[in-house]
Symmetry: D2
Subunit: 376 residues, 4 copies
């Protein structure tokens, strides 16, 4: 079974997410990383490629060259992972998608609604796999939550509460404005929305399986000097009449990660926190609370159990969840290579989910601007 040849753009020296992608690919045992652009400076790309064992002739100065050269190779890459600043997701993803490559792209899909729609159409016109790395939805216990909701185990969904309360921007750093995340032309109009709130929003719809229809949002920053938003609070109205709220911030002093959801239906509720991802709390309207854990003895729904790496009691974390996206992408690619129909697991985050995130950002910005509820 030959491995899928993978290229990578972004994620070089000093990157947080670069090693995550590479470990995820290796854990899946499905990919060979063979080419990449790891910096806007060619000499840095070459140095980094050497460090991670990529041949120098496939350490490219820019993505355009990489696209051209890899297309020409017989052993050219089959899939591309994109982890560049947000504003470049669109041109890179679009070009490689049009050229026939499978795509694994970091969220947000892109900064502009029209670009997201262009990608959606391009993807529909293609026959490739496109994964947007909403990695938190790939935790087994999150998949279990989704399956339980779909199965009616907590009844009709009534209330959805999302939090992502992080501390990495709790202090103001004068240097921060020099990073792409704090440059709206690159990171997007609202740092907190692009960077983390899109994750929470995706998680909410992924689990609740009813769409947010209206949003009321307030955005802002904790420091006068800061040029980007570092908090957002939202209220939601869902299609099925459920109501919701979201509290997301990068500026909660001393907080670590803080992503989580609580969702209640007519029969019970579910609660999950990314910092303790191996358990899912299940409240029952007429019985005691249960602590569901990441097990493989047939007690979880299949889509959860299939995402488990290790026997229960052996904790898993962020790397396994990220790797699940790589595995699922690889499985879909293999089906295609075998001439079969593409099969993606229920809820696999693709271009539509990416577009949805861009719509969420647009709706929050509009609501905050107008001070009213807005449709999404």
């Amino acid at each position: 079974m030959k491995k899928i040849r993978l290229g990578m753009i972004g994620g070089g020296a000093g990157s947080f997410i670069g090693p995550v992608h590479r470990i995820a690919a290796r854990m899946s045992d499905e990919y060979d990383l063979v080419a990449g652009v790891f910096s806007s400076k060619p000499e840095k790309t070459i140095k980094f490629a050497r460090q991670i064992g990529i041949n120098q002739d496939r350490a490219y100065p820019d993505w355009q060259t990489m696209l051209e050269k890899e297309q020409q190779r017989e052993d050219g890459i089959e899939a591309l992972a994109i982890m560049t600043p947000n504003d470049t997701h669109f041109p890179i993803a679009h070009a490689f998608l049009k050229a026939g490559f499978h795509i694994i792209c970091d969220k947000p899909l892109c900064n502009k609604l029209e670009n997201a729609q262009t990608l959606l159409q391009a993807h529909k016109d293609s026959s490739q796999v496109f994964c947007v790395t909403y990695n938190y939805s790939a935790y087994p216990m999150v998949k279990q939550a989704r399956a339980m909701v779909a199965n009616g185990e907590i009844g009709d969904i009534k209330q959805v509460h999302l939090t992502y309360v992080q501390g990495n921007l709790a202090a103001y750093d004068p240097e921060e404005k020099n990073t792409w995340r704090h440059d709206k032309s690159k990171g997007g109009a609202s740092l907190v929305l692009s960077d983390i709130a899109t994750h929470a929003f995706h998680l909410g719809e992924y689990v609740a399986q009813t769409e947010v229809q209206e949003i009321f949002a307030e955005l802002g920053t904790s420091f006068e000097e800061r040029v980007v938003d570092d908090y957002v609070t939202c209220l939601f109205r869902f299609k099925n009449k459920a109501k919701g709220a979201m509290w997301v911030t990068n500026a909660a002093a001393g907080a670590e990660h803080g992503l989580g959801f609580r969702i209640f239906g007519t029969k019970g509720g579910l609660e999950w926190h990314q910092e303790t991802p191996n358990e899912l709390r299940h409240r029952h309207i007429d019985d005691f609370e249960q602590i569901l854990t990441r097990r493989t003895d047939g007690k979880l729904h299949p889509q959860a159990e299939q995402s488990v790496f290790l026997k229960f009691g052996h904790p898993e974390g962020y790397n396994e969840a990220f790797s699940n996206l790589y595995k699922e992408t690889a499985t879909a690619i293999r089906h295609l290579k075998n001439g079969e129909a593409m099969q993606l697991p229920d809820g696999f985050p693709g271009v539509e989910e990416g577009l949805r995130g861009v719509q969420f950002i647009a709706a929050c910005l509009a609501s905050n601007e107008k001070g009213t509820w807005v449709n999404i």
Copy 2:
């Protein structure tokens, strides 16, 4: 040291809060319960009075009679505890206050803003103690949180997040409409606001020590048949520019109590949940999280330590917190009886806090009606 003679209106057979008041009074060792009206049916009051050891001649058919008779006795009551349906708080409290009695009144102070203002004026004109039972603020670890914020230990307050996610109305019961809580003319215009959200709101301002100035709220119910609100989600803008959110519901299936706060400032954050009241989590911007516990070894601020009943490690709960309000009221009464100035602990919940709760309810109703931010 003679005990304070206490009367009680409400809280008879079948009541949840009646035993709580009586246990709180007994735990404090400061009161003799000597008179009361325990039902709108005189025979029930007499039966109940006998059960709890009150003389039949002081088991009154109604509060008006009680007021008249107790005023005439040399050993008449000195203080009155009110735990009747919300719409009767005002006439009872007002009459007894005017007649010179100290008052311990359940929240909400009353249903109407003008009544709250009348009570505020009447109280200013009096020289009595008036306690509104915002009992959650009387937990030692909540007092510790307030003192830490006042002391600048978490820096300038930036974000305040309040939850009260309860399950007692998670199922619709056709009989519920026959109770006073579900009758808006008695319980107030919005059950969820009067019943529980006022507690969360008070807790938020008690700890943050900056006032909410603007509110955006959405109210509603989870069941078409239900005639009252069972959830509210709010966004807050505080006077000091902090932002906040609140999620309060009685209809979260399987949830138990669910009151709690998370508050972040520039230096750190505090988190407390009523279901585990003996600990307060303290996050630090530049150090590991600490778990503060209910101790008496000088590590807590004095106002917290003075509210502790038991040495650390021996858990306390709801009864002790409620009793702290009775103790503090008794201490203030004793000062007055000794001809001294009334001394109340920092943040003691009185008529002003009661009025504030009524204002909060009015603001939420107005915002929900208009779909805009409103001032409070």
Copy 3:
């Protein structure tokens, strides 16, 4: 309904346990505290009696005088609570028991096996209630655990693990040797055993409902200067062939209370910790773990539900558990006063449980001395 007239020996100024007994009595609403000896110094007793509202003529210089005088009064005490140094439990309890009073006595019942046996016989010859304050067994969730084990809900008991890991003697204080607890002639041969390990041992047998038959124990102290034991580790062999272990210490630096049990049977396991007493974790051999909570909706066994003060979600603590012993004692006394048979709840801690604790202490001392398993 007239209250039971209660006397108290010990528990005066500066005592931890004195206020606990008095609050427990008041919470139960069943007792009038009317007489006492609160110090070995008569003037201190008189001062303290005044503070807590006891008439000076019933503030006695010593227990012998109290016994004599109270026997002569028509309104003399009916029940006596004993919270003196351990070596005096026996003479006081024995004399008052012989004189016809009901007894509430702190653990350990006494220091010497023969005294415990004398008390057992005296109690059998009497018709009074005798409560030994193994108060931790009076928590609702501990009663629930006992009832679940009795009901076979975790199957045949296989393993029992007890911990009581406290920090109050984690530092050596040169003054400690001047206290009765550190004087073996008063506190007993082994501080850690008398003071806290007896609680853990009682809890183990109370829940497991199979007797410990053999013990292997090691005792010792963490400081050369300390004259008493501050830790004990034990292994147990139970009558039903279950095995167990215990780790108890007063010298765990930074620990607070630390009493808890874990018990496993063929079908599941139960876990409870006194610092979070409102929940009982129930593991199932073939299902997810449940968190049982202190509820009153029919989900708990009756003996647990009957010990609940407050609706679920409102936390209870140490005071309520202690008060349950006072309530149960009062109920039994009332039955006797009504000429009915004494009725005590299942597992009520009386003289036999007190004797069992003294036997446990003796067995640990013997095993530690010999370095072998010993029978208990």
Copy 4:
């Protein structure tokens, strides 16, 4: 940077630990798995090798053949990972060690004391790396605990308490006797000791950094039909006079993993549980408890921080800890290949630690047999 050529014996289809080793190797990005014996049945090895991408000519029928052939290849393996039944660890490890290969061997090192000593001598005579997979000691927060103890942060160690309370043998399965673990000639004299108690023992000494000198142990089984031990309870006396206890079982119904430690010194205590490995609780004798987390901001000791894969808040688990052993082994191998002295991190588990585990097993068996304390 060329990868280290790795061979593997054991860990084929159906194995739990096989995938763990392979993922650990891939996560480290330091190894190429190029040869192996994955079953005692050659055809199974060939099939499995194909599945995981190993050339058929390096899928060997037995380890002797593998040793012979790989020695002859220029591109032969450099390191060998052994995950076979316990009785075969010794001959395999010994032969490959003598032949000059680096070894990564599962615990227990072997079943017999004399074999462990032979390996120790052989290792001393060699210049290779030998890792025994005491993987729990490779969690960052366990390394932090070790460093804190070494640094005196909890003072002189006084008490050590170890638990490993697992449920995988909670039910008796008649088929179990057909597995090597339940065959004493293969798995060792005591399943619970070889399988899991050695992990707990290693963890205790790794963190406490004082040796156990005397052990009192009781072994046994929960089911008459079971031919192996499924529980052990021990008491420990440490070299520095600290005392300890251990409760380890595979038969706790409903329990999942359950490995953890609590250790107390004169200044404080540390507590860690494998099921929530990203936090370490630090109690202080004179301050509130801290929750230390897996961070990379300079707050942890370097040996902990260097073992972290991901920024704080992103949970890690079992795979990362296991991979740390592979990384550390690789680093040591690279030093040797560069002609430098072998450098292993403080506490790296090698042959001495493996021998120590075998001594622990022997001591428990002897104590259980004699019913006395025995030296280790």
